[in-house]
Symmetry: C2
Amino acid sequence: MKCSDCKWRKYCLPSDLSGPSLSEFEHIVHLGKKFEKEQRIYSQGSSFRSLFAIQSGSVKTQYTLTSGYTQVTAFYYPGEVIGLDAIDTDKYPGTAIALEDSIICEIPFAHLEQIAQQQPILNQSLFKLMGREFVRDQSLLFLLGSRAAEERVLSFLSSIAKRHTIMNPESQQLQLSMSRTDIASFLGISLETVSRELTKLKKNGWLELSGRNVLIHQPANFKEYVFQLADKTI
Amino acid sequence: MKCSDCKWRKYCLPSDLSGPSLSEFEHIVHLGKKFEKEQRIYSQGSSFRSLFAIQSGSVKTQYTLTSGYTQVTAFYYPGEVIGLDAIDTDKYPGTAIALEDSIICEIPFAHLEQIAQQQPILNQSLFKLMGREFVRDQSLLFLLGSRAAEERVLSFLSSIAKRHTIMNPESQQLQLSMSRTDIASFLGISLETVSRELTKLKKNGWLELSGRNVLIHQPANFKEYVFQLADKTI
DNA sequence: CGCGACGTTGAGATTCGTCAATGATAGTGG
DNA sequence: CCACTATCATTGACGAATCTCAACGTCGCG
């Protein structure tokens, strides 16, 4: 599938391109590569060649220290671009792993830089994309700055729900693609605490919960609750 | 003072420029503006016009939520560039405040984009600069992902010491320019805990400590200790 | 149907935050 | 130059939140 036909183009890198400049962009991209669940999109330490744009599915990125300690640093959904953190060092500083069977477009960075140099609009889009990633990171820093487990879990749910709504406006039911362990690692709390907080939300009537299936009862009220307690959106 | 004479050029945005392209860059930069301690370099919500490069002194960035809750998100030292997180939104999402009397160069972003479009090297430097900022954010996320206060304080000290050593290779004595409150906010722990952890390090003989003056006794051993316990450097 | 991975729940131990009092430091004005 | 004051930093006691360890459920896949 070409970018011009992609549902998520307006959220993706070629958002502002059209006509011949879009064709040129499509020309350098390896579109729609398939990745299976658990498969790596890139690995920590390997040479940086490409950015990757999610077309369908979901991805986690994780970093492993020399000590062996591993931490999940982000979850990504369609329209989002991963690999930006490799630009400085020419190596991927982390590993990206598909959380489910996913379709992902590979954007060779050297080519991208070349054509961006000739297309101011693309260059700007790239800057904006990176800027957006900063804002995302800042939100996350905020989230982790507080120590309250409930806030962390709420922010996580809220973030996932928001993105789910953009992708599936018709369906309230959302299915988490990541394990409790992944969530815990991402939020910097123990997996037991994640489980307990989710159970608490369920008991208090905020949502239905069965394994990885989540249904938020009154999204508007829920959002208000999150906002009061834990809105880390800048 | 011009970039060509600046000690920190190789760490700064024009690192790879020379000759006429460097002159052109210098031409658009407002060099060496003075900011007093506590003075704002830019404010949250105001229009994004420029990036700022620290020439001397130090800066903190902080974000304030609608609830009024404020959090310090980074400390910056000479050679480092701030304001990158505003590129996406055209507003500064946070506030930057000088921690001491500082000299800072203003880089109007519209001009920068223009000349970067003609100078691939500068464009690449800008990408790299942003990439470096991602790595920094990731490191911080990693740090905050762990809950141990000792690790957080150690990582903070280690980060400051590393930058201090680059700037002042001859002196081991470092003077923190930020308050305990700022450190606590940045690390996501209470200021009392910061104080207690620092005192603990002092009692265990790792460093000398008097107010904001810190002297790390055996930097090599200290680094090893940090590495074992808390190395979040990716 | 059984096994293994994933998720939930419970109890005790630990860490850290909060509140509060005390001590040090720097900036201000007499 | 010194005293005064406001801000900043340290220290202690207590309680709450979360981690760890452990047992028990549950789900999906072969």
